[in-house]
Symmetry: C2
Subunit: 192 residues, 2 copies
DNA sequence: TAAAAGCGTTGACAAATGTCAACGAAACCC
DNA sequence: GGGTTTCGTTGACATTTGTCAACGCTTTTA
């Protein structure tokens, strides 16, 4: 279970964890299994954990006044999920996070995570890498949202995230792109 | 000149810099004055500096195939500007950054910045705070882009960033929100 | 295995937003 | 101070996208 995380850390930091470090991480990250449709976080609750996906698929979304869902993030193996703002500030989250497939997670609490950063420098290094990647990806997504047409956003998405296109139904992809499933259906039809 | 940065660091970290630390920062951050419309970064170039705005106003934007500009960021005193992706990866930037008003900046190169992180722990602390805030703000903006109407995005923006509404003309705000200046003009008319 | 739910598509129509052109007022040079 | 640019607005119209309803098909579930 934790091996997936160790591999992930090794891959992004080029470093190897000592057995002691591995033990610290094992203690801080607790495994959790979610069934499809089960919540990791419901809006209004405080996000107590950051979660590493060992196996499965998750989605993060907001719900508007009309009850419509808007996908903020789609995530599969080796991705992290959690509402950063709620997690860091301990404020109620505006988002829901649930499992789209049966999913194996490793959960870490804020206090444990920060303690780990002190004890395991490699983990700090990994976190900084993750933050950088996350930040760059967000910048791209914002730019796409304000400057690309729906069609360009979609073709861009299929190039950047072919794994996600496989894994999630089109109406979730559409929502992620900020359009309706009908519009995406028509975009796909035209670009054949 | 550097005092603005020291104040900023103090404000976000609750820490005071030693004279030695101040000296290190003075050496790494070099002042630069830009006249209105002058570029800090042009797309295709590598972003060599992160810049702290001491006084003035800047904008970051992309230009599409049709030559239209799309505002990615608007920034004034005590904000940072720079293309993180280009800066970190040393890849050509997709963005332009220029001065909207005559602007005083403090520039820091990547190598100097990373060296400073080693020498001045307080600065590392500040950087982490900035990254967190930046990340949270981006999350909100993405959520707004995919789930809010143009009108809601605008009213939201005026609440979150009244300083920017004062400082920048409406057509830049419109672009930031992903709409045309005409649409923004009509939105404002209706909400009176 | 039968019923139900989820998914993608399509058509007809409505609503939101963009485009283009024009205009006046204010701000900004020379 | 006169000419020029910038900015915000408005109108007419085009385009994009959303909404609603319906339909077949597959997957899930009881």
């Amino acid at each position: 279970m934790h091996e997936a995380l160790f591999n992930y850390i090794g891959q992004y930091t080029q470093a190897t964890l000592t057995p002691q470090e591995q033990e610290l991480i094992r203690n801080a990250f607790v495994p959790k299994r979610l069934r499809k449709r089960q919540y990791l976080l419901q809006s209004g609750d405080i996000c107590r954990y950051m979660a590493f996906i060992v196996k499965g698929a998750m989605r993060q979304y907001s719900v508007d006044e009309k009850g419509a869902e808007h996908i903020v993030q789609l995530a599969i193996e080796n991705w992290w999920v959690g509402d950063r703002e709620s997690f860091l500030m301990l404020t109620p989250s505006a988002f829901n996070i649930d499992a789209w497939e049966d999913t194996d997670l490793l959960l870490v609490e804020k206090a444990h995570l920060f303690q780990l950063y002190e004890q395991v420098p490699t983990l700090t290094k990994m976190a900084r890498q993750m933050d950088d990647r996350h930040s760059m990806a967000n910048q791209r997504r914002i730019n796409a949202a304000i400057s690309f047409s729906a069609e360009k956003r979609y073709t861009d998405f299929t190039l950047q995230h072919p794994e996600l296109v496989q894994r999630f139904p089109q109406h979730l992809i559409a929502s992620y792109l900020g359009i309706t499933k009908e519009t995406l259906s028509r975009i796909r039809k035209h670009s054949l």
